[in-house]
Symmetry: C2
Subunit: 218 residues, 2 copies
DNA sequence: AGTCAACCTGAAACATGATTCAGGTTGTGG
DNA sequence: CCACAACCTGAATCATGTTTCAGGTTGACT
């Protein structure tokens, strides 16, 4: 359930139950520390302290600070995607699916606001890992859009690949502005305001070009 | 022409012609060094070396490493916006303006790919500066969209503020994926592929909901 | 009730780099 | 051609933090 796509670093060592647990502790601590302080302010000492583990132990499980960061990003990637696909399960039309997918994305972001930050920081800490993250999300999207297109569910003139990236962009900045920034003021978990969500969905609904109006091309 | 909005750091000191020149040299060097290495890999020594100036001199012009970074982001912000509004000048309809604005944005990004990176890194180095950057861009957008709305040029049901952020997101991720990543392979200046651009504009055109089809509300 | 992997530990080695400071240089106005 | 701002300099000071290492601890198995 976890050993699937990972395969990026994770020093290979036997790992008995005890070891497994320690490793998990470290990853969990890293999540909190990186999220709160950012990559460069975070230190191995802080991570091991948070995990309640000796400093030296860290290097039994991860080669470097960067290695644990990369593992963390991949872990988060799986979790967001799960959150999205869970929400999308029942959807029948593409627009329904889209609405559900975004709801899942925002739910995850609202629940783990700081984690969003970790992912974005990957752009500077480990670009290849960030690419992986984005590409895995986009790929699902692209397929969904292509299928919707052959079902006549959305505008056939759109390029699914381009549209998928455009949708990611919308989600990313709307999430950043209306979930994370607004949240900073108080401390509430705060879901995305309904009006904002609806307005965004109208934008997207338009963009994908619903069923009707497939008339001429100018 | 430059002293307008700046006002964020820039230690206040007399500054004769000679000093002015040195300061400009430092900012220019910072641009190159930050762009190439990122904030944390960049060092004051590297910046002063690139500028051909003594290490200590740096601190006569900037309080800290962070201060020069912030000045740089604000400077870039002005330049992108100029690039966008230059391009938008002749446009009559909102869609035309949109197309031109994006063209300007991508032109700037293509010409200064590394600078894009500096701006995005501001999210981690100086969040308030990043907010300023985004908000200055969005504000122009929002006004344009609101005006277009009262002219009946775009879907009246959209919230201009939300739509503006959505558009920013589209530009940001499309630029990142199709300009910066594709570019990395070879080294060409490479403008955004026409097909990609057109496809993105179709998406946006749809999203803003052109003149026709203003029918019912469900 | 001993043995041996596997696991854990934190002080110290090493590296890096921002910032300061005591003292030099430049060039302009008189 | 003197004097004094304004300007410049880079070695030394501090601070921080990753990574290593020599030596303990634990617990499953016999």
């Amino acid at each position: 359930m976890t050993t699937d796509e990972q395969s990026l670093s994770t020093a290979g060592r036997p790992l008995t139950a005890r070891g497994e647990k320690t490793r998990a502790r470290l990853l969990d601590a890293a999540e909190h520390v990186f999220a709160e302080l950012g990559y460069h302010e975070a230190s191995i000492v802080k991570i091991t302290e948070h995990a309640g583990i000796g400093l030296g132990t860290f290097y039994l499980y991860f080669e470097t600070k960067q290695a644990i960061f990369e593992d963390l990003v991949l872990d988060l990637n799986q979790r967001v995607r799960r959150s999205m696909s869970e929400e999308m399960e029942g959807a029948t039309t593409r627009i329904e699916a889209e609405r559900a997918g975004f709801a899942g994305f925002f739910r995850f972001t609202a629940e783990h606001p700081a984690l969003y930050r970790v992912v974005r920081e990957a752009e500077f800490v480990s670009p290849p890992t960030l690419k992986l993250h984005y590409e895995r999300i986009v790929e699902g999207y692209r397929q969904g859009l292509a299928r919707a297109q052959s079902d006549g569910d959305i505008d056939p003139r759109l390029d699914p690949h381009v549209a998928a990236w455009a949708l990611m962009g919308v989600g990313e900045l709307i999430g950043m502005r209306f979930l994370l920034w607004d949240r900073d003021v108080n401390g509430a978990p705060a879901a995305l305001d309904d009006e904002v969500f609806d307005s965004m969905m109208r934008f997207i609904d338009n963009a994908l070009g619903g069923r009707r109006t497939q008339g001429g091309d100018e």
